[in-house]
């Protein structure tokens, strides 16, 4: 696999320098402290901080800006940020109204945000944490390991909008938790990604096969099945994603179909049409949708479907203005 990079060690910092130069109106990158923050803090409000392993772009760094994150802490590829970054981000963006951490449910993220929170709690910062664990692939005695996947984008958007509206920390955290509770994700891959440090594929997948129930970062799935036509793939994704949601006639949903980084628009948007059909067949009303590469796994071909069972409040926060690299709509402030 050929990659545009100088060395594996500089790939992430090169991305961050490039990101800041591409969007000087939106963000600042602080290379000393390893954090990305909003270019302008805006009116005082609850601050939202997230972070995770790099390689899942645009996740978190591409969602820094008005209406979403105040700061993102990028780790090295597929590895969580370290406490020093999270501490620096919190100290930079806390405007005295408290800070919400959006933490994906991986051991590294849980432990490092936990260590940072312990350090900062002693300094008087008011911090709430919401853990995102929308991945339905893991169940039974592995249920506690459910990964944070596509719902992370929804949580960052909706909590970001709630914070922007002036809601206090406990309300912003409640919006985030409700979003997690009402969202589920299921993912499939048609091939592995290649970690820049190792240069080799995360797994081998024979032609004609689909890896089912994958996570991010080259994590293998639950099983391997023959790749069916796209309408059957959509049916399987919808089946798994909505199984735990109360989707009956007229249920309102917000749908995120994210590519894993290596699936062309032609295929992804085509797949979305079948997802839409499969959801409507179950009586769901697709109220809003987002299709594209939003939570990825480097160049992995594949897709993850996230379904949020929405309501008036969540849809209103979804429609609120947002101005980031990866999501932009509504009137600019």
């Amino acid at each position: 696999m050929q990659k545009f990079m100088r060395t594996a060690d500089t790939a992430v910092s090169d991305y961050l320098h490039g990101l800041a130069r591409a969007h000087p109106d939106l963000i600042r990158y602080d290379p000393e402290r390893g954090i990305v923050v909003r270019a302008e803090a805006g009116a005082p409000k609850v601050a939202i901080v997230s972070g995770g392993g790099s390689g899942c772009e645009p996740l978190h760094t591409g969602f820094v800006g008005q209406g979403m994150l105040d700061a993102a802490c990028p780790g090295s590829v597929f590895s969580s940020p370290v406490p020093r970054q999270i501490v620096a981000a919190t100290q930079t963006v806390d405007q005295g109204h408290g800070v919400l951490y959006v933490v994906t449910n991986y051991g590294g993220e849980i432990m490092n945000f936990g260590l940072a929170g312990e350090i900062l709690g002693r300094e008087g910062h008011e911090i709430e944490k919401v853990v995102v664990d929308d991945d339905v692939a893991l169940d039974g005695d592995l249920r506690h390991l459910r990964r944070g996947m596509g719902a992370t984008v929804l949580v960052e958007k909706l909590a970001g909008a709630a914070a922007e509206s002036g809601a206090p920390l406990d309300e912003v955290a409640a919006v985030a938790r409700r979003t997690v509770q009402r969202s589920r994700t299921f993912a499939v891959a048609l091939g592995p990604c290649v970690h820049p440090s190792t240069g080799s594929p995360a797994f081998e997948l024979p032609a004609g096969q689909m890896e089912v129930g994958v996570g991010l970062g080259g994590d293998r799935g639950l099983s391997r099945e023959p790749l069916p036509p796209a309408d059957a793939v959509a049916e399987a994704l919808v089946e798994r994603a909505v199984a735990e949601l109360s989707i009956s006639d007229g249920a309102r949903v917000i749908v995120l179909l994210s590519g894993l980084g290596g699936t062309p628009e032609l295929e992804l948007v085509g797949l979305f049409g079948h997802v839409h059909t499969a959801l409507e067949r179950r009586g769901a009303a697709v109220e809003r949708s987002l299709v594209g590469n939003y939570v990825t796994s480097l160049e992995s071909p594949g897709a993850q479907l996230t379904v949020l069972h929405t309501d008036d409040e969540l849809t209103r926060y979804w429609d609120a203005p947002v101005r980031t690299r990866a999501l932009r709509w509504g009137a600019p402030a």
Binding site: P83, G107, G108, T198, R220
Partner: protein, 209 residues
Amino acid sequence: MMTLTLPQLRAWLSAFARDVLDDHDRLNALDAATGDGEHGSNLARGAAAIQDALAEDRDEDIATLLRSVGMAIVNSVGGASGALYGTLFLRLSDHGSGRDAWSTNDLHAAFGDALRAMCELGRVREGDRTLIDALAPAVAQLSTHRDAPVAESCEAAALAAAAGAQRTAQLKPRAGRGAYASGRAGGHVDAGAASMSLLFAALSRATCA
């Protein structure tokens, strides 16, 4: 020798860092069997940070040395392994205040405390197919040999850590990324347990010297 001295601790940390840097490709390959193949690369960043911390050479006691190493790891490695290895050294450092040598019994108490703190932070226990599966049997040997000479105690711990790491090949992962494909894993030594056995092998060599 009935004590582990500050220079021996420095030799241990230096050897561990060198071994991790030498072995990081193998650790990546072990991790790739169930995870994303990054354990070696991540820990190599920690090894470089350990070398930088050792180069500063301003430690007055065991606590200062181990705390600087722990903070270096916590803030360079990332992931679960960074938090867990960092916690290990930070907990060890709690037992070194004002000390320039440890008895075998001190060593056992310090590692026992670190083991408990790591299990609590990571919500893992022995048998989950993690680095704990090399650490726990090593701590058990430190306990058994707590009245023995340091070199003998550390050699027993190193053998137990290596055997514990080997046994992870037969375990079903119940924590961390390895668990995601747990129905399909097997036959490979856990990468974290492998790096933990390097830590005790280096300790054994440093105490024999």
